[in-house]
């Protein structure tokens, strides 16, 4: 849920690219929200690292009862994607029917509209589509 265009100006821009946070102490990659603290080693200095955008769908669910921001999009698939760099990223998986989603599918990131904020600010973010170029099996 987003509060206002002011909050957009803090949150909105980072979602235009897919990145993770790398701990300068232990090198572990964490999802993008871990700006303050490395959950792995307790380190407190995290830097942005852009991701190449490809990974494997290692888990997913299908949402039938959305929050207000996503009303009208249901049912939609939210996946856990283990990126090739090792970090797990949660994101919608689009371009495939919910009943056809399979754990283990190779996926790649793409830019899509996520939702409208309360003041008409449009949030774009990363969603994932099936990676057609990946080798089968």
């Amino acid at each position: 849920m987003t509060v206002s265009a002011i909050e957009f100006s803090r949150l909105g821009p980072p979602k235009l690219r897919l990145y993770a946070m790398r701990c300068t102490a232990c090198g572990t990659l964490s999802p993008w929200w871990e700006r303050h603290h490395c959950y792995h080693c307790g380190g407190s200095e995290m830097v942005e690292q852009e991701l190449a955008g490809r990974g494997e769908l290692t888990n997913y669910t299908v949402v039938h009862y959305p929050p207000r921001d996503f009303l009208g999009q249901e049912p939609y698939v939210v996946g856990h994607i283990t990126m090739d760099e090792g970090v797990l990223i949660p994101a919608p998986v689009v371009g495939v029917a919910p009943e056809d989603v399979r754990v283990g599918t190779r996926v790649k990131a793409t830019l899509r509209r996520m939702k409208l904020g309360h003041e008409g600010d449009i949030y774009y973010s990363q969603k994932f589509v099936v990676d057609e170029e990946a080798p089968a099996g």
């Binding site: 299908v62 009862y65 949030y123």
Partner: protein, 389 residues
């Protein structure tokens, strides 16, 4: 430790359009004080567990509101919040208040009024208990976040959806017998499997309803309860709290296990007992998969086998340990702030022998409540014992 449970009280747990949040608070608080045989002026501090009144009810200072309407002024009052573990945290603070020696008698009260808004609004508000700004930006909700854990468990241990359905069958068996429960119908495995999808693989009968409720306990120093031999001698003998990751993305099955297993281990040591001594357990199960996870964390079954008790009877009323003989959150609902305190009230009833017929485990003497929240961020364990003499 020994903290006396002098009185308990609760409201029905269901949709109650004719009652406001303050109505629920007053009803639960007065019931507990009446049960304890105390006056409002005897309550020296009030801990109100309420998770979402800002969102659900457009009001904030629930602790202060409760003190006024319960007639507890001028005693101190505060609102406690820890996501779905809110009620358990209110209980923990009530216990620490007594153990500190600063207070003789306090009240712990959980209350939540969720049904003045439509489901979609409620879903959005509940989502704020997790990282609704960043992680849930991906379209997740609480049910779908836990659904990811359910699928992980299924992949790891080979659990099928039919296997998990037995948990709902057991909870509904007891919910049907609980006059205070929100959902009071039995169901079969087939009916669970056919129920509407909520967040794949979780279905309607595997997720809790949104409920309006209040529940309260009057706690006191051990000596005060000893001096009231007519009151059933039930004490809280352990209270242990923990946090875990706030994110579904970083919540592994090992984390989900440790969230309750670590404080449970400390609680058993604190109470001087083991898992084998537990007669009854209230295990947080707003979503069905959390009951097997909790059963395993509390040491009642090995990891990967927690679901079996619902199918083979060992977690039913006459099994090795009676788990969620109240119908659990699946049937009582999950009135966020009240869930933890209702778990405590229900265990105390079991140890007093006053639970309704068909739910009362014979000769229950030691009970445990396990509350979780966040969905992987809060772990709370309380142990209760009936100690005569």
């Amino acid at each position: 430790m020994r903290v006396g449970v002098l009185g308990i009280g609760k409201t029905p747990h269901k949709i109650q359009h004719d009652k406001s949040l303050r109505d629920l608070v007053v009803e639960a608080g007065r019931a507990a004080m009446a049960d304890a045989g105390v006056e409002p002026s005897d309550i020296q501090a009030l801990y109100v567990g309420n998770c979402g009144s800002v969102g659900f009810n457009y009001e904030n200072s629930t602790g202060l509101m409760s003190a006024h309407h319960l007639g507890l002024v001028p005693s101190g009052a505060v609102r406690v919040e820890a996501a779905c573990g809110t009620g358990a945290w209110a209980l923990h603070l009530g216990c620490t208040a007594i153990l500190s020696g600063l207070y003789d008698t306090v009240m712990v009260l959980g209350a939540e009024k969720m049904n003045d808004l439509a489901t979609v609004e409620g879903t959005s508000i509940i989502a704020q208990a997790a990282d609704s700004k960043e992680e849930y930006f991906s379209g997740l909700t609480f049910p779908s976040g836990v659904a990811l854990t359910a699928r992980k468990y299924m992949q790891t241990y080979g659990l099928t959806e039919e296997d998990l359905a037995h948990t709902s069958v057991k909870n509904h068996h007891y919910g049907a017998r609980n006059p205070y429960a929100h959902l009071r119908f039995e169901c079969t495995v087939e009916e669970v499997m056919r129920s509407a999808k909520v967040a794949d693989p979780l279905k309607l009968y595997e997720v809790c309803p949104m409920t309006d409720a209040g529940s309260a306990l009057v706690l006191c120093r051990e000596e005060i309860l000893r001096d009231r031999p007519e009151v059933p001698q039930v004490y809280v003998t352990a209270t242990q709290m923990a946090t875990g990751t706030w994110y579904a993305a970083t919540d592994t099955l090992a984390d989900a296990h440790a969230l309750l297993a670590a404080p449970a281990q400390r609680a058993y040591e604190m109470a001087g007992i083991g898992a084998e001594d537990i007669d009854v357990a209230e295990i947080y199960n707003s979503f069905a998969i959390q009951e097997p996870l909790g059963i395993e964390a509390l040491g009642f079954a090995p990891q990967g086998e927690g679901w079996k008790g619902a199918a083979d009877g060992s977690t039913w009323i006459d099994g090795k340990v009676g788990v969620n003989l109240s119908g659990g959150l699946l049937c009582k609902g999950h009135p966020l702030g009240a869930t933890g305190s209702t778990q405590a009230v229900d265990i105390v009833e079991q140890l007093r022998g006053t639970a309704p017929e068909g739910m009362q485990r014979p000769d229950a003497e030691i009970g445990i409540s396990a509350c979780r929240g966040g969905p992987g961020a809060v772990g709370a364990i309380h142990i209760y014992q009936r100690l005569e003499g």
